[in-house]
């Protein structure tokens, strides 16, 4: 694994916008950054990232199987009691998942370590599946990369495959916070994948979802919502005005309700309990667990519910440093061993390993000047060389 500095394409912004990647810059700073790329060997991809991603997916499924029949686990995850049976039915009924992203600490040498699992509302799919691939093709064309260069990236194909399997010809509604450019871009991309899978689609803001007197969710034209992709966290939906009506809804959701378990940072200590010393896990404990003392006075403290690094704090010698502000933490925290992110040319690096349609299928690389990955952390392309 190497960070290779290179010249950016002078017209990459126009190219990005031409494919709908409009959120390539944040506050005037590049989010997409091709002034360097990361080079991996095929062995690093297959042995260190792809295989652990498949194994972690299985481990997570074992965890869900256990959790839905264990009130103690659901309570530790702070999942509201009224939703326990509903989540269990979702799992036992086989509600399908489309995708997720495991975030790893990896430096090209040791085992990749799971930092968190973005199981419910992963973003960065468009830049991973489309624009990163276009970069590879053009990098080869311009001889920046050898002809034999490759990329861990079949996310696009897997998403289409996933929609074919899930959709079964039904109309798909997609919803989220459309005023957020990143969310709108992600939804538009997933909508396109669904259309390529043959589905009819409709997009609507999450607050435009209607509920009939009979408790059925409908779109703005009052069409019943049979199949709904939501880029909106389960923990938010459950606690909002319509939350209680989820229990009687006939709508099928993507991601499914059982992902409410896996999108919770509480899975980090639970996985560590179930698979102690697993090479791809870091020691982790619930904040109020006496066993957390094993981590000493230095660790990473994460809210059970958190996104984009919000409210994540580095605790060093008992003192919190580098805490990111945000609205999360009311439901509790976990502590995870502080395994400092590797630095390449002074940048902290996190890898995102994608899993879609039942297959590990892609890689995204994020860089930041700070050790906590945030929504502004830059996305760099990668290539497999050698």
């Amino acid at each position: 694994m190497q960070r290779v500095a290179c010249k950016e394409r002078p017209d990459w912004r126009e190219r990005a916008e031409a494919v709908g990647f409009n959120f390539h810059s944040i506050d005037g700073e590049p989010y997409w950054d091709e002034r360097a790329y990361y080079a991996f060997t095929l062995q690093q991809i297959e042995r260190d990232l792809e295989a652990p991603t498949a194994e972690l997916d299985q481990m997570c499924r074992e965890l869900v199987t256990r959790a839905v029949d264990d009130e103690n686990i659901l309570r530790r995850l702070a999942i509201p009691v009224p939703f326990w049976n509903w989540i269990a039915r979702s799992w036992k009924g086989g509600d399908p998942s489309l995708y997720g992203r495991f975030d790893f600490r990896y430096d090209g040498k040791g085992a990749a370590k799971l930092l968190e699992y973005n199981a419910d509302t992963p973003t960065a799919a468009l830049e991973t599946g489309v624009f990163q691939w276009m970069w590879l093709e053009q990098a080869i064309e311009s001889k920046l990369l050898p002809k034999t260069a490759d990329q861990f990236n079949s996310l696009h194909e897997r998403l289409i495959e996933g929609w074919k399997s899930i959709g079964k010809g039904r109309r798909l509604h997609l919803t989220g916070m459309l005023e957020a450019p990143e969310d709108a871009g992600t939804i538009a991309y997933l909508e396109d994948c669904a259309r390529q899978a043959g589905l009819a689609t409709s997009v609507l803001p999450v607050d435009a979802i209607g509920k009939t007197g009979g408790g059925q969710y409908v779109d703005v034209e009052n069409r019943p919502i049979e199949l709904l992709f939501k880029l909106y966290p389960w923990e938010w939906l459950m606690r909002e005005e319509f939350g209680a009506s989820l229990l009687g809804a006939t709508t099928q959701f993507v991601e499914p309700p059982w992902k409410a378990i896996l999108s919770n940072k509480g899975i980090l200590p639970l996985l560590w309990e179930m698979f102690p010393q697993h090479p791809n896990l870091l020691p982790a404990y619930f904040d109020n667990d006496a066993a957390a003392a094993a981590l000493g006075s230095s660790f990473v403290r994460k809210p059970l519910y958190s996104r984009e690094g919000a409210n994540v704090a580095l605790v060093v010698g008992g003192k919190s440093s580098g805490a990111e502000g945000g609205p999360y933490g009311a439901e509790g925290f976990v502590r995870q061993e502080n395994s400092p992110l590797p630095q390449f040319a002074g940048n902290y690096v996190v890898l995102g390993s994608w899993f879609a349609a039942g297959t590990p299928c892609g890689l995204s690389v994020r860089e930041d000047a700070t050790p906590i990955t945030r929504n502004t952390s830059r996305f760099l392309p990668h290539a497999i060389i050698g």
């Binding site: 396109d192 609205p327 929504n375």
Partner: protein, 134 residues
């Protein structure tokens, strides 16, 4: 993964609804023998979609072939991402936001009942500086 030299993807030039015409065209295996997987103790089945190791039909003359160079697995197929284009944003199927709290239900034979809205989204609005994605 993979833009494989073994796999050429023929993308049918279609976009939008029904554009499911991805087609894989596999080149014939080169004249070589797939090497066994490292550490493999027994013959393994090829991965789904992978090119099967060379096998000889009964009675066929044995031919010694050189080992193949490492191959990308065909599961890592390349595709033409130009199939995704901004034009897809302009789909007429997209709907604009509606925040009205009550509109009459006009379908499903329930016109006498009302539809309420804005029951989802309050958390997102309250944390609007943070993406709801991750």
């Amino acid at each position: 993964m993979k833009r494989s030299s073994q796999v050429a993807l023929l993308l049918l030039g279609v976009t939008g609804v029904g554009a499911s015409g991805l087609s894989l065209s596999m080149k014939k295996p080169d004249d070589c023998v797939a090497p066994p997987a490292a550490g493999a103790a027994a013959p393994q089945s090829p991965a789904p979609g992978a090119i099967a190791p060379q096998t000889l039909a009964p009675g066929a003359p044995a031919v010694l072939l050189p080992p193949c160079p490492p191959q990308r697995r065909s599961a890592w197929t390349t595709s033409n991402r130009t199939n995704w284009s901004r034009s897809n944003f302009s789909s007429s199927s997209r709907q604009s936001g509606v925040r009205t709290s009550t509109v009459p239900t006009s379908r499903s034979g329930s016109s006498s009942r009302s539809t309420t809205r804005s029951g989802f989204g309050s958390t997102g609005r309250s944390v609007s500086s943070h993406s709801s994605g991750s």
